[in-house]
């Protein structure tokens, strides 16, 4: 998990998103708040969340802070209502959980420390990792990178980071 965010950060980014279990209690938090408080994921294991968070952040810097692991876990809980882009990419909703679990387990067993993630991602892109199991690594990279783009740049804050006016007709009251 990324280091806990400061209280100032939490207040500045205080949008609501969903229920997470934190220290045995259900709380209504944004994914990034949930991550900051070390949320108890409901579908993925804490290790799997950490792995997805590290890889997501290596692909799209800022994704861990934006709450990629908590976002994925929350959407996997949502079943048919999942907002994950995987649905468009041929990962149908019932298969999504296994997809992310397999992706995370590959990272856990094959990736080195945080510093070697760029090389790991490059090897994923070329499907050249020996021992990779499940859907092809390059495909997993594409999906996870798309998720990371969603949480990092697919929100009014993300647009602002790129200098693009959001121009909402109806502003989303929560990012997802």
């Amino acid at each position: 998990m990324p280091a806990p965010l400061s209280r100032r950060h939490l207040l500045a980014r205080g949008t609501t998103a969903g229920f997470f279990i934190v220290a045995g209690q259900w709380l209504w938090l944004t994914p990034r708040e949930a991550e900051a408080r070390v949320f108890d994921p409901q579908v993925l294991s804490p290790e799997q969340c950490k792995a997805l968070s590290i890889l997501g952040d290596a692909l799209v810097p800022g994704a861990a802070d934006a709450g990629i692991a908590a976002y994925i876990d929350l959407q996997l809980q949502a079943g048919d209502e999942s907002l994950l882009i995987g649905k468009y990419l041929g990962v149908d909703t019932p298969a999504q959980t296994e997809f992310y679990r397999a992706a995370a387990d590959n990272v856990i067993s094959l990736a080195g420390d945080k510093n070697s993630m760029q090389t790991f991602a490059t090897n994923m892109a070329s499907d050249s990792l020996s021992g990779w199991a499940g859907p092809p690594a390059s495909y997993v990279l594409f999906v996870l990178r798309a998720d990371a783009l969603d949480v990092t740049y697919g929100t009014p804050e993300g647009f602002e980071r790129l200098g693009i006016p959001y121009m909402a007709q109806i502003k989303p009251d929560k990012p997802w």
């Binding site: 048919d80 882009i85 468009y88 990419l89 149908d92 909703t93 019932p94 991602a121 783009l149 909402a168």
Partner: protein, 516 residues
């Protein structure tokens, strides 16, 4: 439980269903619409590409196979307005030659009607929904009434891209759109904020919620949501007639009766409903010669991107694009492949999501990414080629072995792209890269070839042995069961289908009203 009787039941509250509902209800029919998805209002359409995914068809999933899958999850929507609730509003007429593919080229199928028969309905619909465009600059446009509104203004991105077309000897015109360039019939002008994919909440885009639904309801049509039709049921005493539909709502299995039933549940689900209606005694309606589900089509399409020194500000405008090029449209036999094609030029675009520029460069990640995204958000240009699909009987919708939670079979969609149609798409995408370079792009890349729009599956035709319905969408082996929507298309052309879907539905409505 059998519920109320009405003149007409319409299955599906999308582009075809709500057009028919408005016309039939205004013509004096009592109409009930059964919609599988939830109720949606314009005010629900939050400006977010992430939330927009809620508008898509979710479960039961459609399994797919073939070398060019149809992409059901992206192309199909559910809830009031259907896929059309967040469609992009490119409204083009099919060309004359699109109606006679088999006669002219010896491939695919002919339509049982020609352009002249549909033209009055194109004219009628365009006046009602309001189209923006320039019929003179569209030098390739089939004859028809001029557009009721001037075109949308051109933004920086399209001005840059237009140079590439001019330098390579090609032509462009304003893209005709069901989007208001000025206030029209109580609906406001476009804000050019590029949120069309999330659904236009202000009603500037003529989606079914903004145009047809208010008319249908005002004329007395009834609309039920979360009412998923599982099958149509034949009359036990007269098997030429269907007497009712069975549907699932609130965990209950219900039945509704009507004099006429129109299945307008988009291509795949319409076929799924008909295939699920087979009984031990009778083949599925329209399937007496094994044609139901066949000739499934999707337009092969691809987007070309480029980075320019000039500022393009690609967030401005509408998702559909701003310019059109149909230079080669009528040259279906031209060297290099087979089929028509068109360019939609200058899409307003976001950094993320399936069509976003960030997503389309998986090779850029890590520290390089943000500086690249910042550059692209000011200097990117993009345009999409849409090509013709060739209708093949092997491309078909069938019922899968998987059952949904209500015990109804899922649909399976198989689609292979015919090699000459694939070659045409590759050829045009390569030409697109040259056009962008001519426009001054320093870096050019292509997105994947995807399937856009779904057509076929319950094709109309003059010969009952070769088709599923007649020229008015009436299922051949029944007196009172109709299909509406793109499932009827015997060929795809290379234009976006919703203008034709709506014109065809209007023609069907006139026919049904004329019967009694």
């Amino acid at each position: 439980m059998v519920s109320k009787n009405c003149d007409v039941i319409i299955v599906g509250a999308g582009a075809a269903g709500l057009t028919l509902a408005a016309r039939l209800a205004e013509g004096g029919k009592s109409v009930s619409i059964l919609e599988a998805g939830p109720e949606r209002k314009l005010g629900d359409l939050v400006s977010s590409q992430i939330w927009a995914r809620k508008l898509k068809w979710s479960e039961p999933a459609v399994s797919e196979s073939g070398n060019h899958k149809i992409g059901h999850a992206f192309n199909a929507g559910t809830g009031t307005g259907g896929s059309a609730l967040h469609h992009y509003g490119v409204w083009l007429r099919m060309h004359e030659g699109d109606f006679s593919l088999s006669s002219d080229h010896g491939v695919g199928l002919d339509w049982p009607l020609n352009y002249e028969e549909l033209a009055p309905y194109y004219d009628q619909v365009q006046a009602e929904i309001g189209l923006s465009g320039d019929s003179v600059k569209e030098r390739w446009r089939p004859q028809g009434a001029p557009y009721p509104m001037p075109p949308l203004p051109l933004f920086a991105q399209s001005r840059v891209l237009a140079k590439g077309f001019a330098k390579t000897g090609r032509h462009t015109s304003p893209l005709p759109l069901a989007i208001n360039s000025e206030p029209y019939q109580g609906r406001p002008a476009c804000h050019y904020d590029g949120w069309c994919d999330s659904g236009c909440s202000i009603g500037a885009l003529g989606n079914p919620l903004a145009v047809w639904l208010p008319r249908a309801l005002a004329a007395g049509a009834l609309l039920e949501h979360n009412a998923r039709v599982s099958r149509v049921i034949r009359d036990a005493n007269n098997t030429q007639r269907v007497e009712s539909v069975e549907y699932l709502q609130d965990g209950e299995r219900k039945t509704m009766q009507a004099d006429r039933i129109i299945v307008a549940a988009f291509a795949v689900q319409s076929v799924r409903i008909l295939l699920s209606s087979a009984t031990e005694q009778h083949s599925a309606p329209g399937n007496h010669s094994d044609k139901l589900g066949r000739y499934l089509m999707t337009h092969p399409a691809g987007t070309i991107f480029g980075l320019f020194d000039e500022e393009t500000y690609p967030h401005q405008g509408v998702t559909a694009g701003q310019l059109l090029s149909h230079d080669d449209y009528d040259e279906k036999d031209a060297a290099g492949g087979f089929g028509s094609s068109q360019w939609m030029i200058g899409h307003a675009i976001k950094p993320h999501d399936l069509l976003g520029y960030g997503t389309n460069r998986p090779d850029i990640f890590g520290a390089e990414l943000e500086p690249w995204l910042k550059r692209a958000s000011r200097h990117l240009g993009n345009m999409t080629v849409v090509c013709e699909d060739i209708p093949l009987p092997e491309n078909r919708i069938t019922l899968s072995d998987r059952l949904d939670r209500d015990g109804i079979a899922h649909a399976h969609a198989h689609h292979d792209l015919e090699p000459s149609a694939a070659a045409r798409c590759t050829q045009r995408m390569s030409e697109g890269a040259d056009i962008l370079r001519a426009a001054g792009a320093s870096e050019v890349w292509a997105g994947p070839r995807i399937g856009q729009h779904h057509m076929g599956g319950a094709v109309m035709g003059s010969n009952p042995e070769e088709s599923v319905t007649d020229a008015f969408g009436r299922v051949h082996d029944t007196d009172n069961l109709y299909v509406a929507g793109p499932a009827l298309f015997p060929s795809s052309g290379a234009v976006n289908p919703t203008f034709t879907i709506t014109a065809l539905a209007s023609r069907q409505a006139d026919h049904i009203l004329s019967i009694n």
